[in-house]
């Protein structure tokens, strides 16, 4: 008698658990880094950036690269500007790295499996940038996060 009483709720709960898993994200095979999605790449799209001047807002197109064979949803991308250099690659200490700001990715972007997606980030050269910031290049470091949709 007691087995029957127990058996019914276990069967119901098992069904609930199975339903939860089927409604959630599909499991994926383990990848090269063991238990998650391989890191995705972030790089500049050549030639697609606005030359900045004080107070200007421009765009910096970047390319998100997905080496997995399934789509990923890139949720965040941020960029940090480093110390600028002149046309000969020499440091320009009078131009602070903080003169440039790059906005974070405005909205999530889906990158197809084994594919790329291009997206624009908004860039700013602050109004008070000194003369030393003319004709310089600010290196950017990108970081981002993604999930399997």
């Amino acid at each position: 008698m007691s087995r029957w009483r127990i058996g019914v709720p276990v069967g119901v709960l098992a069904a609930v658990v199975l339903a939860w898993f089927s409604a959630g994200p599909a499991p994926v095979a383990n990848t090269a880094n063991g238990n998650g999605i391989k890191p995705f790449g972030i790089s500049d799209v050549p030639g697609r950036a606005t030359a900045l001047f004080p107070g200007a807002t421009g765009t910096r197109w970047i390319r998100l690269g997905n080496v997995e064979n399934f789509p990923i949803l890139v949720r965040t991308v941020t960029a940090t500007a480093g110390k600028p250099v002149d046309s000969r690659g020499r440091a320009v200490p009078a131009c602070p790295a903080a003169s440039v700001k790059v906005d974070a990715l405005a909205a999530p972007v889906t990158v197809p499996g084994n594919g790329t997606a291009d997206v624009a980030l908004t860039t700013h050269l602050l109004p008070g940038a000194p003369d030393a910031c003319r004709s310089v290049t600010f290196p950017l470091t990108y970081t981002g996060t993604a999930v399997k949709p």
Binding site: P25, V28, P39, G41, L52, I62, A81, R134, L140, A146
Partner: protein, 149 residues
Amino acid sequence: MRKISKRSAVVLGAAGAVVVAGVAYAAWTSTGSGSGSVTSTTSADSVISSTSTGTALYPGGTTTFKVQITNPNAYPVVVNGISAGSSNAVGGCAAGTVTSAVPASTPGTIAAGATGEYTLTATMSGDASDACKSQTFTLPLTATLSSNA
């Protein structure tokens, strides 16, 4: 109302734990990284030219004349100031015979690729020699400008 037995409660708890574990497992995440750059534009010098010579001067007399300042840059500029002017020597008339004062203000913004016009006042020295009759005087001027985006 039928009571839930102890064994049923244990099964309920275990099943709940499985559900929680399933939710945590569902989040497959990844990170991305990369590098890039943005550049700043350069600046080009403006040119000041005369657009109106004003009325003919005589010793001790004054006149207004107009100058035009070009902005060859891809961004708007504001004129911070225009220097005082002093005439070059011409045809036996001594240098400095005609002068122009620093204008009290140089209002307005010159749009990218546009020009701005400013009115200056010139004065001929009271002891100008006869050699200064019927001459055209050139007054070198310098303007200082700043980006104004």
